[in-house]
């Protein structure tokens, strides 16, 4: 790759971010500006920022790698991202969230729940779950970005991670939500353009169209060595254009962890919910539906499709499939881009991955800092005059924690780490959030019961029920001498969200019914 051109592109990109971060800094004069942009953001900025925050490097590098390994079944996630993550989120959650946020004059998700249920306990609890749980997701996103920089630049992973983190820290701490959303918008545009080109060049490289490529990808399984296919089929693999075998480990991972965990989990993501509170009226949110949907179609729809088709490309050019060439599925997409795309696009695509990582990370850091500063410190200590400073300090602490966790992550963890976090969000927050918007009978006690039940059940299922996490964490083995408490299939393969989310709903319902005033 032409190092000079690559360096030039990166410098222009960083200067643009610096300028937008500075713009955010100049326009931030109060805590309200720092947290919700003074509730006057443009619908394009809001929708693109929402989309860019939603789609992280995990979605591109991690889930793209899953598509390469397991096939197009992951497109259900892209569809749910659009249907649940944009259409349902904007229309059924966003409009009411914006109105309530304005009515209560709150600027964060924990404050919204806390104010509605008139409970500082709820505000602090939700803030604490965010501040303690979100670093896992942030560290996964950081890893996705750093792995890509390592692959493309051939630089040391540690240096890549450090520079990457420092740049984001600078504009989040200085520019607040305005800096974050302005930079998100630029990053969303880069992602959009890059994905369009990727799709175009992929088909050009394959030398065929959409239907022919799909047919050849379907036929590819017949060209694999029988013992190779038998080994893949054992885990449930049926081909890249087929769903995994029902009840197989791959099916459970795909359906319960990736599709349901992320597909439903996206509804109760605090860093996304706060976007609805940054606009001045419902019209902006309604305009955002189309913008967000098209953005997700092009970004996630493309990368999952390309991930699966990368096998066809590798088979045509190298006589092997993606997982034969790259063992760590988190590195398949970077490798594929490096091998199949023109050098200048590889440089541009690096910006796309950087943009995806940075836009999500900046929002996560901002949300964690807000939770620590505004929802925990400010509620406990009550010093509003220092609020912006404290939030900035919270952002800094959350960055350091995420950075440390990033070094402890195992391989092949990007997609799973994302799912775990989104599953926790759905199980802990979604029943209370939904009830706040739609159920007048919901009570404070019901919400508290739901929040505690969802969080506790998620953690319990991870430590004692779900094989992948329980085996890695080792607590169940240490206490009971077995990796999981229920060993009969399919229980060890079922994602924690399927235990925790219904339990949380039940707690909300029963808790509210028992404490309703007649």
């Amino acid at each position: 790759m032409n190092t000079f051109a690559l360096g030039l592109i990166v410098i222009v990109y960083l200067l643009s971010l610096a300028f937008l971060g500075y713009l955010g800094y100049k326009k931030t004069t109060s805590a309200n500006d720092y947290l919700v942009g003074g509730r006057e953001m443009n619908p394009f900025v809001m929708a693109l920022s929402y989309g860019a925050t939603f789609i992280s490097a995990s979605a591109i590098v991690g889930f793209g790698g899953v598509a390469a390994a397991q096939g197009m079944g992951i497109q259900w996630l892209a569809m749910l991202n659009m249907l649940v993550g944009v259409i349902i989120a904007f229309i059924f959650f966003g409009l009411r969230t914006r109105r309530l946020g304005e009515k209560y004059n709150v600027s964060t998700f924990p404050a919204l729940l806390g104010k509605h249920f008139q409970s500082t306990h709820i505000q602090i609890f939700v803030g604490a779950v965010i501040f303690l749980g979100m670093p896992l997701y942030a560290s996964v996103v950081m890893k996705g970005g750093a792995v890509f920089i390592e692959e493309i630049f051939a630089v040391d992973y540690n240096i890549a991670l450090l520079i990457f983190t420092l740049v984001i820290a600078a504009y989040v701490i200085a520019g607040g939500i305005k800096g974050v959303m302005y930079t998100d918008t630029l990053q969303a545009c880069i992602m959009f353009v890059c994905m369009l080109f990727l799709l175009f060049w992929l088909y050009k490289s394959l030398g065929m169209g959409f239907i022919e490529a799909n047919e050849k990808l379907t036929a590819l399984t017949t060209k694999l060595a029988p013992e190779k296919f038998a080994a893949m089929h054992k885990g449930g693999f049926n081909g890249w254009t087929s769903m995994p075998a029902f009840n197989s480990p791959q099916w459970y991972t795909l359906v319960t962890t990736l599709i349901l965990g992320v597909g439903i989990g996206c509804l109760a993501q605090p860093q996304l919910v706060v976007r609805f509170m940054t606009v001045k009226s419902s019209t902006e949110i309604r305009r955002g539906v189309l913008i967000g949907c098209v953005f997700l179609l092009i970004t996630v729809g493309t990368i999952y499709h390309a991930g699966a088709l990368s096998n066809l490309y590798f088979f045509q050019t190298r006589g092997a499939i993606a997982t034969d060439l790259v063992k760590d599925i988190d590195k398949i997409i970077p490798y594929f881009i490096n091998q199949s795309m023109p050098w200048w696009f590889t440089a541009l695509f690096m910006l796309c991955i950087l943009s995806a990582s940075m836009s999500t990370l900046s929002s996560l850091f901002h949300t964690m800092g807000s939770a620590a500063g505004s929802d925990i410190y400010n509620v406990v200590v009550k010093r509003p005059s220092q609020l912006t400073k404290v939030i900035r300090l919270g952002v800094l602490v959350s960055i350091v924690i995420s950075y440390i966790i990033c070094y402890m992550l195992p391989n092949d963890f990007i997609a799973r780490g994302t799912s775990i976090f989104m599953g926790i969000c759905a199980s802990s927050f979604l029943p209370a959030y939904f009830s706040m918007l739609y159920w007048k009978g919901a009570t404070r006690q019901g919400a508290i019961a739901s929040l505690w039940t969802g969080s506790f059940a998620s953690i319990f299922a991870m430590f004692f029920l779900h094989q992948k996490e329980a085996a890695a964490l080792g607590l169940c083995k240490a206490l009971f001498g077995t990796e999981v408490l229920i060993q009969a299939n399919p229980w060890p393969m079922i994602d924690p969200i399927l235990f925790a989310f219904p339990a949380s709903i039940l707690a909300m319902y029963i808790g509210s019914l028992l404490t309703q005033k007649k």
Partner: protein
Amino acid sequence: MFGIEDPFILAPYLLMGACVIFAAWYGLKYWNKEDKKDTNV
């Protein structure tokens, strides 16, 4: 259809198209409409 035989793989592709069509209809219908509920906050 479209070179994909498994209906469970084809379905998300078709549904994604349906989502975009709905979003276009919804977005354009309400593009310039103010929401009366906004004034009743």
